[in-house]
């Protein structure tokens, strides 16, 4: 990257650092919810930004940086999940850990954590692409046009996939009650 400049005259290094600062948390949380594994999500987040750094000179429109980055995150997540499916491994930690003992948790806080854990388990039971589209829309707040860019499909396809995904998750949650 060195001292190369973008058309605006700013250094590419500065732009990439801004991208990292702005989206690292969001990328991490997406990967966390996709994999259900904290340590795995950290490593995958690093993987995403390393790949993004290598591909940075190919990004033509800085305005598309967010969807471009999330497209990389999608590919990294799907590859990791596919790898796990082929070679199942034990995990040292699960996402839905019980709170550390010590100060007693408030009932509301405990209830919130249990609900989040149940929701994560329901998410984990869905196919990866189904999980992804739900998280992109309902957690990340992306518009259909943005999701279409991330997934490489039309907005109509986004609408129908999202419809099916919400129905599916809704049924899962009802079954778990």
């Amino acid at each position: 990257m060195g001292g190369a400049s973008t058309p605006t005259g700013r250094s590419q290094a500065t732009d990439f650092e801004e991208l990292f600062q702005k989206y690292r948390q969001a990328v991490f949380n997406l990967l966390l919810r996709m994999t259900g594994n904290y340590d795995g999500a950290i490593d995958l987040t690093q993987d995403v930004f390393v790949r993004a750094l290598r591909a940075w000179p190919t990004l033509r429109d800085p305005g598309q940086a967010r969807t471009w980055l999330f497209r990389i995150a999608r590919n990294v997540a799907l590859r990791s999940l596919d790898n796990q499916r082929r070679h199942p491994t034990s995990s040292l930690e699960d996402l839905d850990e019980t709170p550390a003992s010590g100060a007693p948790a408030l009932d509301d806080e405990l209830l919130r954590k249990e609900r989040a854990a149940a929701l994560q388990r329901a998410l984990n039971s869905l196919p990866a692409e189904t999980r992804l589209i739900l998280l992109l829309r309902d957690k990340e707040g992306m518009e259909y046009s943005e999701i279409a860019q991330v997934l490489g499909c039309s907005q109509g396809t986004v609408a129908s996939r999202l419809n099916r995904a919400r129905r599916r998750l809704g049924r899962k949650l009802e079954q778990m009650r």
């Binding site: 990257m1 060195g2 290094a13 990292f20 690292r24 948390q25 991490f28 949380n29 966390l32 919810r33 594994n37 904290y38 340590d39 795995g40 950290i42 490593d43 995958l44 987040t45 690093q46 930004f49 390393v50 750094l53 290598r54 790898n83 796990q84 070679h87 491994t89 034990s90 995990s91 040292l92 930690e93 919130r112 609900r115 989040a116 929701l119 994560q120 739900l134 998280l135 829309r137 309902d138 957690k139 518009e143 259909y144 907005q155 609408a159 129908s160 999202l162 419809n163 919400r166 129905r167 998750l169 809704g170 949650l173 009802e174």
Partner: protein, 292 residues
């Protein structure tokens, strides 16, 4: 509008992504159809539940470590920057054909001249059957018998294991998630040393092997993937259905095999290597915010 048409449009209806005319049609149907209203409410509840998932924030140390890796990557990409474009350029078709010819010649040369280093002829360390070892069924397998004839300790302390194996790298006493080391079993065959470490709840069993540098196939493993980014001499291997990582340091080769993900193995191995450099034993433990 039928229920089928309405339900197909519920997601964009909820998200405000429908055209005006379509919204009115869906509205009219929902006013008249309790089942579709129920479906709408279910989707609204799903959407709200997902929005309420808590944001998890890794500690600052995690981001600092990541920035360090990115800096390293930036330096690496500067070093590998392509040479300046020559003043002359071949016509595309000729350039393409020349490149293909060069690739074929290079491929032949690489295959014939550069062969993967022949492993040193030493007695191999047999990779014991995972389940059989856990059950401690000594003497019931020819591989175990071969090992047992040489040298085998059971249930030794980590300190005894260190003395017996001469391992410069030591297994962590604790793993993330609070898993504690429960037992160590040692094996030796010729110049190979192995330690099998069992962690609490029976969830993790790490095999550590040490031998003179050589092909990791000696551990019953085969190379399955490229070296990890942070280690040029490392190889991912697969042995007995488990993931493994082989690396060399000086005049020794090491392998760690466990049924853990690449990410988790990487973290353990990186910590072990750092510990061997600093001369200290790395202790894993869960810290505030989950970073280490």
């Amino acid at each position: 509008m039928w229920c089928f048409h309405c339900r197909r449009r519920l997601a964009p209806y909820i998200d405000g992504a429908l055209a005006e005319g379509e919204i009115r049609k869906v509205d009219r149907h929902l006013n008249a159809c309790a089942r579709c209203r129920q479906e709408r409410d279910r989707q609204l509840a799903v959407s709200a539940a997902l929005r309420s998932l808590p944001e998890v924030a890794p500690g600052p140390a995690v981001w600092q470590a990541m920035e360090a890796v990115l800096d390293m990557e930036k330096r690496r990409s500067v070093k590998a920057a392509p040479l300046a474009r020559p003043g002359w350029v071949l016509p595309k078709r000729i350039a393409g054909a020349a490149a293909l010819a060069l690739a074929i010649i290079a491929g032949v040369l690489i295959t014939e001249i550069w062969i993967a280093p022949q492993p040193v002829l030493i007695k191999p360390a047999y990779a014991l059957d995972y389940g059989m070892f856990l059950d401690g069924i000594a003497g019931q397998s020819s591989q175990w018998e071969q090992f047992a004839r040489e040298y085998a300790f059971h249930g030794v302390s980590l300190e005894e294991a260190r003395r017996a194996t001469g391992f410069a790298l030591l297994a962590p006493q604790e793993l993330p998630g609070g898993l504690a080391l429960e037992s160590v079993h040692l094996l030796k065959s010729g110049c190979c040393r192995a330690a099998a470490l069992k962690y609490s709840s029976g969830r993790v069993f790490l095999y550590l092997f040490q031998q003179p540098p050589g092909h990791p196939a000696f551990f019953g493993g085969r190379k399955v993937a490229q070296a990890p980014r942070w280690c040029d001499s490392c190889k991912w291997i697969r042995a007995r259905g488990c993931q493994g990582l082989y690396w060399e340091e000086g005049d020794r080769g090491f392998v760690i095999i466990a049924n853990l993900s690449e990410q988790e193995l990487t973290r353990i191995v990186m910590a072990l290597r750092a510990a061997s450099t600093s001369g200290q034993v790395q202790r894993f433990g869960r810290q505030e915010g989950g970073d280490q």
